[in-house]
Amino acid sequence: MRNKLLVSIAKSLLLARWKQTLVAAVGVTFSITMFITLLSFMSGLNDLLDGLILNRTAHVRIYNDIKPNKNQPINSNAAYKNAHNFIGSIKSDASRQAIYNSAAIMETIKKDTRVLGLSPKVTAQVFFNDGSIDITGSIFGINSTEESKLYHFDEYVTAGNSADLDNVSNGIILGKGLADKLLVGIGDAVQITTSKGDRFQLKVVGTFQSGIKDFDNVQSYASINTVQKILSVPKDYITSIQVKLKDITQAPKVAKEYEQLFQTDAEDIQTANSQFETGSSIRTLISYSVGITLLIVAGFGIYNILNMMIFEKMDSIAILKATGFSGNDVKRVFIYIAISIGFFGGIVGLLFGFGLSATIDQIPFNTASLPTIKTYPINYNPKFYMIGIVFSLITTYLAGWFPARKASKIDPVVIIRGK
């Protein structure tokens, strides 16, 4: 009842000065609109750029690195146990690139509850023969269903079908750049030479565009079987296992654990691609600071308008206090005014922000490197809308608080006797 009365007084004061109120609310609306649009667009862009690498990269990659053996014979010599050894001209050892006991490792990883899925990979360095020209390149042997499921492989296959890798024997999907160099299309054959000198003929079943041109110029994909055949290695020959986790932040921990457990090398995505995270977080920071700056400016607008209103309504405040409204009641009236400007301005701002982002979402955005993107990317994360409305309420509350306190301190005697 008491609050209802204060609210109705606040409402009458608001409506009596509806033009000023509107200007204040438009300020909030504008800043919330820009805040939402900016964040949606920025984070859409972030997701897109991160997706270029992060979506296609394993969270943990298990492989055998080419490097010198850590256990050099001198270390086993008891006589030099407490000495430091300097050994010159060590060569990386000729241990095999394949992961030892890969089938068992894959079984173990599949049982790990933190793991979303995994896909094995075999890499072969080859020459693509085009008449007298040899183009260096690599063929990745993949399981196309797993690869599509975990790393969106099918999205990048712009011509042909990724599933044909398994369906067509000796099928290959070439990078767009590579296919253009070789002047081949779907159905054509390409000739390759392995590093050991064996020759093979593969059938092109598609081309892909990864968005990174350097990749497209050298890479191609085939089924694991095909690559194993090219390398003339047995069925358990796997050069790397790509693990995708449920929670990407766990990657460094899991990588360390697997390195210990399987006695191989394991690399996490954070170490491999640290620059992307930095870029994303800085872009997000910029959008937030611009959005908050806009809101603060709107807050000053509200502050001014409320100050003016209090100046105009001095008499009304005096009589309210004379007839029994306490300083606190008066303060509340003005805070209600500020909050309602923030609330309604903010809600309209959210709607406009949604509308503007949806409009941007329709603007065509075609780039050769991003075949799956047709329009500007927008992220409709409800989190932004929550933050937007909460921020608008907080800024308007603060903007209202100081004038409201001033109003509550008005001495009715001074006003009434001053007449």
């Binding site: 009842m1 008491r2 009365l5 007084i9 009458s12 004061l13 409506l15 009596a16 008499d315 009304s316 005096a318 009589i319 309210l320 206090k321 004379a322 007839t323 029994g324 409204f325 306490s326 300083g327 606190n328 009641d329 001495d411 009715p412 005697v413 009434i416 006797r417 007449k419």
Partner: protein, 224 residues
């Protein structure tokens, strides 16, 4: 007799620019049903005394009792409640809120008191307007009525919570002869018919003469 208002040894000083005593050791009381006028020359401290008695001005020495209860000087919210419940004000200027109509203006302190439902407060407000003969103005905007009518609406607003005492600071100061008489007649009627206690500051001798009791002030003191 039932003392509605009692002041004991009230002293008040103005500090700026120099310390001046405006009220000098005032002790007096007002009984229920009395119609008292407070007169004196400009600057004698009569308005200052009224604002001290109204609880709005707490910068004084001495003690003030309203309805037998001592008024604290610090508790602003409590004093606001006392003003709401026990004191009705009529000022020289009407101080009606232009955003509301006449009826709503009268109802505001009643709604604030929160003793009766909205419908009841509305009904009571209409009754007060009827006593003052302005019930036909109830739904008009408060800036669309004449000055005399505004002052009568302000009196109705002062009456809404059936206060123990009505305090007036030159309520007829801004009105012509006809409207002044009208306001006086209203005060008189309230005093006679409703046994309403009134304390009115005025410098109009003809107004003061017609009240039950005159408190005459000079230089911050009450003349015997």
């Amino acid at each position: 007799m039932n003392k509605i208002l009692e002041a004991k040894n009230i002293n008040k000083f103005f500090h700026d620019p120099v310390r001046i005593q405006v009220l000098a050791d005032l002790t007096f009381s007002i009984n229920k049903g009395e119609f008292v006028s407070l007169t004196g020359k400009s600057g004698c401290g009569k308005s200052t005394l009224l604002y001290v008695l109204s609880t709005m001005d707490t910068d004084y020495e001495g003690t003030l009792f309203i309805d037998g209860e001592e008024m604290p000087k610090k508790n602003e919210a409590f004093l606001a409640k006392i003003r709401n419940e026990k004191i009705g004000f009529v000022f020289q200027f009407h101080y009606l809120l232009n955003e509301f109509n006449v009826l709503e203006n009268v109802m505001l302190p009643g709604l604030k008191l929160n003793k009766y439902s909205r419908e009841e407060v509305e009904h009571r407000a209409m009754e007060k307007l009827k006593i003052l003969g302005i019930e036909q103005l109830a739904l008009k905007k408060s800036n669309h009525i004449s000055g005399g009518e505004k002052q009568r609406v302000a009196i109705a607003r002062a009456l809404i919570n059936d206060p123990h005492i009505i305090m007036g600071d030159e309520p007829t100061g801004n009105l012509d002869k006809k409207n002044s008489d009208l306001v006086f007649d209203i005060f008189n009627k309230l005093s006679d018919e409703f046994n309403q206690t009134l304390l009115i500051v005025t410098h109009d001798p003809s107004f003061a003469e017609r009240t039950h009791r005159i408190i005459h002030m000079e230089d911050g003191k009450i003349l015997p």
